[in-house]
Symmetry: D3
Subunit: 319 residues, 6 copies
Amino acid sequence: MADLVTFGETMLRFSPPDEERLEIADQYDVDVAGAESNVAVAAQRLGLEATWLSKLPDSPIGRKVAGELRSHGVSVDVVWDDSPERRQGTYYLEQGRPPRGSEVIYDRAHASVTTATADDLPTEALEGADCFHTTGITPALSATLATTTAELLERAGSSGALTSFDVNFRSNLWTPTEAKEVLTELFPAIDILVVAERDARVVLDADGDAEAIARKLDDEYGFEVVLVTRGSDGALALSEGEAFTQPTYEAPDAYPVGTGDSFVGGFLSQYLQGEPVQKALSWGAATAALKRSIPGDMATIAVQEVREVIGGTTESLSR
Amino acid sequence: MADLVTFGETMLRFSPPDEERLEIADQYDVDVAGAESNVAVAAQRLGLEATWLSKLPDSPIGRKVAGELRSHGVSVDVVWDDSPERRQGTYYLEQGRPPRGSEVIYDRAHASVTTATADDLPTEALEGADCFHTTGITPALSATLATTTAELLERAGSSGALTSFDVNFRSNLWTPTEAKEVLTELFPAIDILVVAERDARVVLDADGDAEAIARKLDDEYGFEVVLVTRGSDGALALSEGEAFTQPTYEAPDAYPVGTGDSFVGGFLSQYLQGEPVQKALSWGAATAALKRSIPGDMATIAVQEVREVIGGTTESLSR
Amino acid sequence: MADLVTFGETMLRFSPPDEERLEIADQYDVDVAGAESNVAVAAQRLGLEATWLSKLPDSPIGRKVAGELRSHGVSVDVVWDDSPERRQGTYYLEQGRPPRGSEVIYDRAHASVTTATADDLPTEALEGADCFHTTGITPALSATLATTTAELLERAGSSGALTSFDVNFRSNLWTPTEAKEVLTELFPAIDILVVAERDARVVLDADGDAEAIARKLDDEYGFEVVLVTRGSDGALALSEGEAFTQPTYEAPDAYPVGTGDSFVGGFLSQYLQGEPVQKALSWGAATAALKRSIPGDMATIAVQEVREVIGGTTESLSR
Amino acid sequence: MADLVTFGETMLRFSPPDEERLEIADQYDVDVAGAESNVAVAAQRLGLEATWLSKLPDSPIGRKVAGELRSHGVSVDVVWDDSPERRQGTYYLEQGRPPRGSEVIYDRAHASVTTATADDLPTEALEGADCFHTTGITPALSATLATTTAELLERAGSSGALTSFDVNFRSNLWTPTEAKEVLTELFPAIDILVVAERDARVVLDADGDAEAIARKLDDEYGFEVVLVTRGSDGALALSEGEAFTQPTYEAPDAYPVGTGDSFVGGFLSQYLQGEPVQKALSWGAATAALKRSIPGDMATIAVQEVREVIGGTTESLSR
Amino acid sequence: MADLVTFGETMLRFSPPDEERLEIADQYDVDVAGAESNVAVAAQRLGLEATWLSKLPDSPIGRKVAGELRSHGVSVDVVWDDSPERRQGTYYLEQGRPPRGSEVIYDRAHASVTTATADDLPTEALEGADCFHTTGITPALSATLATTTAELLERAGSSGALTSFDVNFRSNLWTPTEAKEVLTELFPAIDILVVAERDARVVLDADGDAEAIARKLDDEYGFEVVLVTRGSDGALALSEGEAFTQPTYEAPDAYPVGTGDSFVGGFLSQYLQGEPVQKALSWGAATAALKRSIPGDMATIAVQEVREVIGGTTESLSR
Amino acid sequence: MADLVTFGETMLRFSPPDEERLEIADQYDVDVAGAESNVAVAAQRLGLEATWLSKLPDSPIGRKVAGELRSHGVSVDVVWDDSPERRQGTYYLEQGRPPRGSEVIYDRAHASVTTATADDLPTEALEGADCFHTTGITPALSATLATTTAELLERAGSSGALTSFDVNFRSNLWTPTEAKEVLTELFPAIDILVVAERDARVVLDADGDAEAIARKLDDEYGFEVVLVTRGSDGALALSEGEAFTQPTYEAPDAYPVGTGDSFVGGFLSQYLQGEPVQKALSWGAATAALKRSIPGDMATIAVQEVREVIGGTTESLSR
């Protein structure tokens, strides 16, 4: 009875507190972070029943990942890996402020999830789900996962679910050429495509403005919705030939990681309930804006807060 | 499809870090603590499907309580209180070491849960549950909750669930006389009675040794199991006329709060799966012993750890 | 021999560290916060002898409140409540940054202070005091406190003290209509009225600009001074028919809670020493500006710092 | 109207958190610590009106010391040193556990207090005080302070106060020979002498058991009370020729610093109220035992806790 | 001009603060930990010039490892790995207390060091070094490292250095059979063999008491010194046919990780300076005892502390 | 074989966490801070072999200073002071935000280093060094250090090293007149003079713009390079009669302490390797800009980061 099933890797994230450097800090904050579970968390908090599908090491570290996601109400449907080689993917994040850049060091190779096949996974939640969502990170992680992604997209489609896919190009994982080859093979199975304008240019060789990009992708592959995210310039959705635009809401630069996932979670929370595209876009944008004020990868928000951002009724201090 | 449904109040718990005094500390650790949710957490971690039934304020604080319990896998079935008077019960715990005592300051009067009626609560999980569990704290919290407790015991019994009840006398909430009057009225509806030897003497006027106490209570009220807990002296269960004893496993004094609840959770995790009383007792004792090495109110344990304590195979450091 | 006696509730304040959410944080910073004690602290640090009058639970938590205020040099004259129902009022503060609002959750109902009568309180310090100050929060907390407030204002007046009152409307405690009814009955006993421009409009049905508001209130009720605070637009004082204005000093948005109380403390610190209204206003504004750079509710400042803000001589780093 | 006036240096104390080493830790806990202020704090918390007399740098650091002592209710009567050479004495404490020793690094030379003369100090509280207390640390800190100590003892005696003096030999500050010369010159002005058995042997050339030591000192110098503290062996008081002994209460080794000061504070709290020597000894011993369970230098205790230790009625956990 | 060169892997170590569980903690303490660098640190602090040889990822994380070791004065001679696959090995340590065991989760597969060949490494320090030390962990990490270990032992021997080797069997890395095969091939190149009594039995099929084990190993492979460590039962050294025994010094269980490495570092610090075996043993034992009172993997000690442990002159608190 | 030898005092620095006040905080962050060691750290991290020369107390606190500097790769050549009067200089830093200023309280009088003579110091590294650097703080600390500074400048010059000197006027240590007298006597021995424009005016009576100042100083004393730093207005270097200017790179106000030292370290890292003055200036400016984004006194940077700032290629988040 899930409304939304997402599939992908979720990592432990290590960050030095405050603005300390990774090299210097003696304590790291430990968070849980994954593009697809971020989407599930945002969507769950905004009213959907969300399930996250994955493979985790059978260890306190794997249980930590599961527990954090569950605490947001997400159902965690995972294979527990008890092989001797099991490992939890991690990444190090050092938040800079200009002129110092932020630093991301992935340590996710050989993680348990990279060996997950479609048959391993407890995919019961796919039956009857409204939507299946994953991202371009997943097939980039291993050849096995590329196959699994394709298979799950197919199964989801067969069982009547919408399929949603965020390109999410990661240059640390593969080249644009590799990405294009794998991803475009998946496109025919995808209903909702999310792509950052920059990724569309770099990976998918699209050009022109956001609308041109969306129309080109739609022409070429045929989607129900193409959603082009444009950073601080907002977003554009192409649906049934009509283009809808959405500016960003004012938001801080404080906690940028996870902004895009929150956008998708907010969008799907409305779109899957049959709300108009324009409304879904505004929920996506408001969720993304709120995320940027919240530490960590996930949008720990409430429905009421999204409504206030959209309505412009947030009070700075109410007592 | 819950195996175990528990009902009661869960509080926020504020404790100064390390051994600092409440009066001096500038930061408090924030935990989530409730006798019945503690039982649910222990049981869930040991293999049951557990649901916790309650009423919480519709606020970040109430959501915090729900989130923490969910992180252990427990299903949280609550009414969200959005009345202007909604409040989250709290307590302050200062952990002393002799000659300084530990200090508990309850601040739980007027909490949202104290107004919960049986009809308010989302009791769907009771249908088909194997067991319903609550404690003597719940009816002590308000007249409304005394009624609700009686009604839920009845409903649980009617729908074929075992009913389990831990006397858990709290002298800060009521007098022994008040407690006895209310509790003994509930006893006919109860299948499994858990009572600390001291409470049995003080509240229920039982005397003699643990077995005598169990037999007396059984004679008087008729239970499927009477479980008498005896602190560091172990525990005794009376089942179908037969007495089973269980010594404690060696355990530190470090984190005593929640020991009894962990015992019950460990016991039920086996008893409800049809395991013999003696085995269930050993799981209760091992879970309780492990709890005493773990900060907070809850037994954040794994099945494997319980097995090792019982088998005496815990390695102090394995690498 | 107090110069200033203030009366009201002081709460424990729980806030997540940094910008974390209340729902997520595992530690809360614990501060001490109350409109009237905030005024006492600011005034004491700026040279007055200040006494804070209240009722506190006889517990480590109550002692914590007393100790924090004493550390600033304020005399703490309280009744210690040792009834079984004693409780310390608290509030939760989550500091947001746009688009996320800040969140205040009061948990102050049934606090010990709500039962304080004028006869309970150790009011010796009122004898010979120069000034008695309280706020509109106090009578809003309980019917008992409304009576107590009236009685203390009368006693203070009788013993020759100036009476000062900050309207401080709190929509979480009562409606504008309720507030107006209770407060305007107190006005005849008040010499110095402090009111936020917004509260004057919402609660006291005043309109026009700040000066018009001040003159209307003065005409209607007759005050020695009417002080209208206007947030980032500064403040206006009406004294003996003459209006004095004061712009704000540049200040961050970082720690807004307690700004208004610091203004009053700074103003009174000069006014009660016979300094001109214009000078008192500048001390109020400088104290308020400094407060906004300091964590917590209270203005932990030094006289020298206020002088430097007024003189524009603060050095960003002197060594 | 002080009951007890103490005089001496109070330092900032820097300690690494937990059991970390000074060399490694990146944060130090900051406490306030001084033999004489420790006595004042214990006595104030146990019912006396205590005043602490000293000289502090006029700086945030000096204000920190004053604030911490005030938070316990102690009156802080100090000269504020605004000379360019003003400095706050500090010490570093690393708490070891065997076989690693604890480490104390004093950094107290040239502190503001070392220049305090009797005429500098605001000694009004001495008028009408019941008792004046200082320790052998004070005259060891500088020649000026040795003179000041003598003068204050004399003034206190002249104004009718009892004079109390704890030998408190510190080998880091002077040699036994130096100490003996200075201290024995002060003895004629002292009514209550407190001395550790070990110091009596090392500094005062006393031998025999505690009673022999007390009698010898009394014979030689003539005191109203001689109090010999014996570490874990308890204490002995000689008063009007009669010896009273007191065993220690069971206590942890956790936080030993300040044990002796707490003993003196507890003893004086009763002795100055006219309670029998034996009772005063038991209050001293109980206060000292409680101190050892409390982080920092000071006995943050309540009267009730002392009573429970003496009565053996402390409950490990009451709820 | 190094006295001692060690070679091996050094990991980042993540531990929850205090006694929290890995699954629950939101912050991990970050330490630096490796058997061979632990030896280098202890030896350097006790007077040798120590160099640590390894391969580290060219990243803030790799620099963190280097910086921590350098802070103890150790020379860090490493190849900086800037390949895309570079990674820093880590491990998770959860410190339990009985009945809860401690938990070690290695995440060190594929670390940069596993690809280090003898020709990669900057081995200049080996020229003229007095001693080269590594452990059985190193060849267990990869086939490449097994070869490198053999080669470095040979080079060290050729250049006239003593070779020291600690068997350090890790069951998470290989089986006893695998270990035996690889290690015994290295033995002919080794002068000083260190082996835990348990490892000697499990891996090397030795039996009898410690002396019998030492003699058997010496007979079979011919060493200059065989050092058998026996946990809390002390240690035995066989040197030129003579057996020397050393009991342990009293020490806490608090921080056991790194005890064995500290023993070796303490032993070598004396042995390499030509001190008698018996004295070297006592330095080993004292260093090991001190380590157990110090958080982290490394012995952050001073020469004076070792002397005091051996002399029994540690003062619990000196001031 | 050092490229750069610096000489001066390094202090422990105590700061309250976040924006808390020194008076209120219960923990202080502990850093290591000194103008000359800051230069050494920046230069070492940017490719030079740097040595820091000084005198430290033989204590855990002195070892802490040495360890922190070593962790950056700097060689620490110090006399260890084991006299009873040994002390470690410290300073308190409270970071304000307007209108609250930052506060620096020095506690460095009588530090061990103030007694260091040229003959005490282990100056071997000066032989063959490329450059010797110190600042105007050093001779201001004591008469002994003024002599030592002069002597080391002379020795360095004699052995063929460039001498570099940063005026670094500290009004808390001496008056402009005192500074001028001492410093101008040192100028003949100096090759590279660094001076803040403001110090040039206040201390050296220079006027006109930066170039005029540089030319005047060059005319009067004859330097190889005069480097005038101008805060946010950039810097100017005069070399062989030619003036080079450098604007600042955009940087936050967050962590200003140490900006100037980082500039010098960056400049020297290139200048000493024979790079053109203009390039050296850009490295100075980029290093300074990065420093302002990094907590503490030291520039914990990597060469790559400096290159990216200069090239404008820093990515805000790369993954």
